[in-house]
């Protein structure tokens, strides 16, 4: 077993990776989907195929997927020693970062009420984040 302090440090490091790579991935996906957006249709099947091709030949989508993969690997490692209901909320500081990136990179208009909501989400994340990482003895 690793000492508790060491384990906490590793958890924080992984969460830092998650907080940056996750939102960046989502913003890139958003950018990519807007680029191919007007070609999308799910029915009939030939249109579905065409939509799939349009999505998976878009470089921005692949950049987003790569970024989300970094997020996912960090997430899996963190989950192997800390509880899901601790890691998931702590990682979700990302909800604030994604709004900033959407504003800077995509020029999205964000209403004051939406900023307030996002701030409240971050407050909730902070409150949740200050609880003990390990609560279940075993599955």
């Amino acid at each position: 077993m690793t000492p508790l302090k060491d384990s906490n440090l590793k958890t924080y490091l992984l969460i830092a990776i998650m907080v940056i790579a996750g939102p960046l991935g989502n913003v890139l996906l958003g950018k990519g989907m807007k680029q191919v957006g007007n070609e999308l249709s799910l029915w009939p099947p030939s249109h579905l195929l065409h939509s799939g091709l349009a999505i998976f030949t878009c470089p921005t989508i692949w950049l987003g997927i790569a970024s989300l993969l970094c997020f996912f690997v960090a997430y899996m490692l963190a989950l192997s020693w800390a509880d899901y209901s601790y890691v998931q909320p702590a990682s979700s500081l990302a909800y604030g970062v994604v709004a900033l990136l959407g504003y800077w990179m995509l020029g999205e208009k964000i209403s004051p009420l939406r900023w307030a909501g996002i701030a409240l989400i971050s407050l909730g994340v902070f409150v949740v984040g200050r609880t003990n990482p390990r609560t279940a003895e075993h599955v």
Binding site: I55, Y84, S85, P89
Partner: protein, 124 residues
């Protein structure tokens, strides 16, 4: 209507998938080393746990729903709304993984829920 379906799929399939992955990783055991070879070994071991595949399948559904949502809505709206998964996550951790959810953590979840509500109202 399409919006509601997409958000439901993102939250329910996404959280369900993460719960399954978390359960699988607990079976695999803690990651002790950050060495690339150790990480690969953990991933290979994780792929042999059935819960991992159920989880990955559900996350794939959530991913395509997310792509659908992002093609018609702003990322700064879609992602905060998916914070609804906090509520699903606390409930799922409680029932499915046997984790104890403290009153303080419930308070945080409550703030998040109100925050999501404000984001929704701010979109009108």
């Amino acid at each position: 209507m399409v919006q509601a379906i997409l958000f439901t799929l993102i939250v329910v399939a996404g959280t369900g998938g993460e719960l399954c992955v978390s359960r699988a990783m607990k079976e695999v055991g803690g990651a002790i080393s950050f060495h690339p070879r150790a990480i690969v070994r953990i991933i290979l071991r994780a792929l042999r746990v059935p819960w991992m595949w159920v989880g990955v399948g559900m996350m794939a559904v959530a991913f395509f729903s997310l792509l659908g949502a992002l093609s018609r809505m702003n990322v700064s709206f879609v992602v905060p709304v998916t914070a609804l998964s906090y509520i699903a996550g606390a409930l799922g951790g409680l029932t499915f993984l046997g984790e104890r959810v403290s009153p303080q953590r419930w308070l945080g979840v409550f703030f998040v829920a109100v925050g999501v509500l404000l984001v929704f109202l701010g979109n009108r």
